[in-house]
């Protein structure tokens, strides 16, 4: 039953992506566009993982590797860079670099040969892919670099934002929101450790919890609850 959990993760992630994209179409901020793309990749990754729990497909395994293992964290992290770094030239340069690296990653995964090892649908893709998908050195290095890049930006950026708001003692809901986003982003980032420890079921749970925590964090960060408080008190004092 647990191997169907990625379908739940997909539903949460799709709802999250819709919320982010609708905000992007209202406001037009680049960070929302990159977060939306990152969440769409997250959703594709969990969907392909769920699909592979039901049936084997070499195409879906490649999609799972590209979205689930390589690109999601990096695109989400790029969104955080747009939010925190106020030098458009620098951020755009990194974004172009990420786009080029992403194309290289996609091409290398689709060109990678597959072995004849039988796929077991009752086991997670992350446990078996190394025996089926023949990864070259470029794919391995890109996977690690993209995940380092994305995780440092996404988790580090959320922790940095939380610390700034906390130190100034303002907008407590944004402190909590950023803590939730950092914790949620760390969940899938540490999923590989769960697999190595043999806790493959926790992998699915961590993906779902990660999506839920980040979604709650995003809703909390974009709520106007405390921003209204001073206005209400101003109205009372006038």
């Amino acid at each position: 039953m647990l191997h169907l959990l990625p379908f739940s993760s997909t539903l949460v992630t799709v709802a999250f992506a819709v919320a982010v994209f609708s905000r992007y179409f209202r406001r037009g901020s680049a960070h929302l566009l990159f977060w939306g793309i990152g969440l769409a990749l997250y959703g594709l990754g969990t969907f392909s993982e769920a699909f592979l729990g039901l049936a084997w497909s070499s195409f879906m395994l490649r999609v799972w590797y590209i979205c689930g293992a390589m690109l999601t964290a990096a695109w989400l992290g790029q969104g955080t860079m747009y939010l925190l770094v106020r030098k458009p030239g620098v951020v755009n340069g990194f974004a172009i670099g990420l786009a080029i690296v992403s194309v290289v990653a996609i091409v290398s995964v689709f060109l990678a040969p597959m072995t004849n090892v039988a796929y077991n649908t009752s086991l997670p893709a992350s446990v078996q892919y190394k025996d089926i998908l023949t990864r070259n050195a470029l794919m391995i290095v890109l996977t690690i670099l993209l995940n380092i890049y994305g995780t440092v930006l996404l988790v580090g950026g959320a922790l940095y934002s939380a610390f700034l708001f906390w130190r100034k003692r303002v907008l407590a809901h944004r402190v909590i929101a950023n803590v939730l986003i950092a914790a949620g982003a760390l969940m899938p980032a540490s999923a590989g450790t769960f697999v190595k420890l043999g806790l493959t079921d926790w992998l699915y749970v961590s993906e779902l919890l990660g999506a839920i925590l980040m979604f709650i964090g995003f809703l909390q960060a974009t709520s106007q609850q405390l921003a209204k408080a001073p206005a209400a008190q101003l109205a009372q004092s006038s």
Partner: protein, 56 residues
């Protein structure tokens, strides 16, 4: 003092977070835990990249 600066001061004063155990102790402790967790994940990833942590 102008009305707008009055409003700014009032807004600033009313938005300050009051002291509490949760805000003053629990949140920074959680931030430190998350920062350490991020550090561990990064060390493992860099270890994998440099060959110190085996990658199949």
């Amino acid at each position: 003092m102008s009305a707008s600066s009055d409003q700014k001061q009032l807004a600033r004063a009313t938005s300050r977070v009051p002291h509490s155990f949760f805000y003053d102790r629990a949140i920074p402790a959680f931030l430190i835990v998350l920062a350490v967790a991020l550090g561990v994940v990064m060390i493992l990833a860099i270890g994998a990249l440099t060959g110190l942590v085996p990658v199949r």
